[in-house]
Symmetry: D2
Subunit: 272 residues, 4 copies
């Protein structure tokens, strides 16, 4: 089972947790900890081999840790997600295939598109698809109601090419994951490949991040790049970019769904 | 020998050059060409096995190519360079070692520093070192005179942490090569690692580029990144960054010194 | 349109081809050539913007090139493929998604499995699935007849975990593409991840190659690696390996389907 | 200060160490642990902010840990190394530059070469150079005496192209670090780039490893690759390989000198 701890830093936190686990005869398989000195924050992720009742273990840890400690024992054992899309298929296709074969680590509740192009692929996988034309008045209200009706743990923007309102973003704070088609902070905003082509860069990339009310400014979970050269057109970049976008979003989702990511301020701690 | 051609694009350019070489019984070992559609420009780099008098071959190519064609046969056979430094040693050390063992592809005429910290390492390699305190009045005039006295083909900014004047930059247009410690256009300007740390990126990088009068905006020759995670401090980034800066500058210098780089507008064509 | 040329090397080949194209007023968009000195072989790939009748252009090129030249103008415009699988879904899933969205560059005629586990996913994409229990007597005869009935240009082994007979391999010489789960020649044969774990390597990889009668010895099309560390178990490697296997096979298929790959002796020339 | 622990695995080891450190009011900055299940071995590396007398802390840890525990508090604070070379300069050059600028993390006692080609570069850095013609009778005895006279913590084979005897290797067990010019286990033995060229691989690499009496079979510390294509000759590979060899050896030395590497059986645990 997995134990996550976040609290103000002080001497003895590792000893407190590992001591409590030792008393329970729980063998630590993996332990990762990190202290953000500037923020004076302590983060810890422990994996133990055996299973114990989560609530009881949580209580025992609460006793030995400071009162501000946020402790999660086997957090969100079954992740439910809602996926938002526009027209591009590559990220959604990857999610649907993994979901179908049981390796996504989450349960896709539905797909919501502001176009209908991806409805058929969802139908083929027996995943509910909802069309919400985001451009129209009242669309976000409809979207919110729809999302809420599924009570998802996370909302995945799998190439959703619309900007969500601050209200929506704050409602699902630190629970909306986006894939942006550039190595942020380079080329934030629209048309990053066009910008990249014009700047003549020798690499392009993708960034998966939590969404905040600052466009393309949210905490980064994962990013990666591929080399390009002068002969690569904007259209080539779009094509090559799809591969790296798919890979980076898949990696970010795996990290989040395996409870390896802490979010705080505008950063993430990723125990990969 | 190496032949470079740059001109307006039209049908038959490859045929013209390869036909002329064929008549001379020159066997093409490597041929690379690129057409920038938007700029309507044609670029070509050919390597042939045998040697011929450069001036005569150049004339024969001039005859078969359009009048606007810029042709270079064995351009700059011996590259002379001047290296500008401040205090950081890693790029200079790499250049000096390669130069000493004859694998740099260029001849280091001298090193100019706005500090004296790197004087001793130059002395050990019998390379003239000049101290030009860039902060003082008249320094750039002194620098210009000094650089000119060596008639260098290229000026390499191997971690020269001062901003050169527009006058200086234009004097050596497309001949000043800089290494910037970020994957541009992300984190242009000062303290890129501090910016990177604060943004919480998951990769840092370096960019080698020709210097223009727009700070950190010049044509990019090479760039590369390394992954980082939350636990990497700004100081760690500085340390790790030195490795990637050294590697990227070394690569860019090799490409330029092997006549593999065309510069036009704000871009490069790199036939690597 | 795309023109491929392979022949014995001699002076004037580039001139001959580019001259013939120039006479036809065909503008060269991309030209790549390579000479294998040891084998004395010349390879060339040209892309021109405009379309011309392929047969006529082929004839005109035949006239200006040596008699041994193998010329292909717009080779195999529509690639038909048959996919062989066992139980693992990741490569097949990727192929089916790309095929469904029209970006595979080939037409999947059918999938043949020696298990039935992947039948349902094929059905969902309306792709015929055939079960050929490869372990049984007569299975290869059945397989051959089945494959032949589709007249495929290529056979893709998308994690087909059986060894094909020499007869089968020679029947489809240079047309069977396999994905092997190691960076060959390291860890050829069975259980490469187990071998990799035991050797304590710090990277694992995948290799896409044409199949010959020498197991895991065929011409390599593409390969790539990912870093691992001591904590990665064999099971972790299998999981991480799926990502890299999928990516490498996808890349190799794209290169082959875009006519960027020449095969000769035990090597490939890849004009990527 | 740094604390390393290695012992048989059991419940409570992390608690024991972190508890003892907590009692001493030592704040854990970084904690990494790993359990090799198959070998039933526990490895731990802890960094604490403050300094304490090493011997006393070691004693206190000994009390709370099993009797088989190997504990090192601030192990080998000043690493002394001897470097063995033949003719290639790239790894040695990198080591000398880092050493000169105080960033190697070790003190180079001397360089020993079986050729004299690299004597001058050592002289320029005021590093003693000894010529031991390894081909001659009695050379290894001379080498052993010479190495012993410097009492080095580690022996670095910076492109030493001779095979050391089993006697020599066992004398400095787990203390000899070699750089091999391939991604082992591919292309072990002589001429890996020639082998790589003939096999037509699409990537080449380098491996830093501890030397055992099994040639190229020792525990791997670090390895990395670079992509190559068909046009890369054996000579090109040698040239490109130098870059990756230098980088991989530099990384391995940093990891070892920062006490981040455990060696056991034929593997390493690297807490990087």
């Amino acid at each position: 089972m997995i134990i996550l701890v976040q609290c103000k830093d002080q001497v003895g936190l590792v000893a407190a947790v590992s001591g409590a686990l030792s008393i329970e005869h729980l063998n630590i398989v993996s332990l990762r900890e990190y202290v953000d000195k500037a923020a004076n924050l302590f983060f810890m992720r422990v994996e133990v081999e055996e299973e114990r009742p989560a609530a009881i273990l949580q209580q025992k840890l609460q006793v030995v840790l400071p009162s501000d400690a946020v402790i999660a024992v086997n957090p969100l054992p079954e992740k439910k997600i809602v996926v938002l899309v526009t027209k591009e298929y590559h990220c959604l296709g990857d999610i649907l295939i993994r979901h179908y074969f049981g390796t996504l680590g989450a349960s896709v509740q539905c797909v919501i598109g502001n176009h209908t192009l991806l409805e058929d692929i969802c139908r083929r996988f027996d995943i509910p698809f909802h069309h919400v034309p985001y451009e129209e008045a009242g669309a976000e209200k409809e979207l919110t109601a729809l999302v809420d009706s599924y009570s998802p743990g996370y909302i995945v923007l799998a190439k959703f090419m619309r900007i969500l309102s601050t209200t929506f973003v704050l409602r699902y704070s630190n629970r909306i994951i986006n894939i942006h088609h550039s190595f942020l902070p380079a080329f934030a905003g629209a048309h990053p490949y066009k910008q990249a082509f014009e700047r003549g860069v020798k690499l392009i990339g993708a960034t998966a991040h939590f969404v905040t009310d600052q466009l393309d400014e949210g905490p980064i979970i994962a990013q990666q790049i591929i080399p390009v050269n002068h002969s690569v057109t904007t259209a080539d970049m779009v094509k090559a970019g799809k591969e790296i976008e798919t890979a980076v979003l898949a990696k970010a989702l795996r990290l989040v769904f395996e409870d390896r990511v802490f979010v705080y301020r505008n950063k993430t701690v990723v125990f990969d």
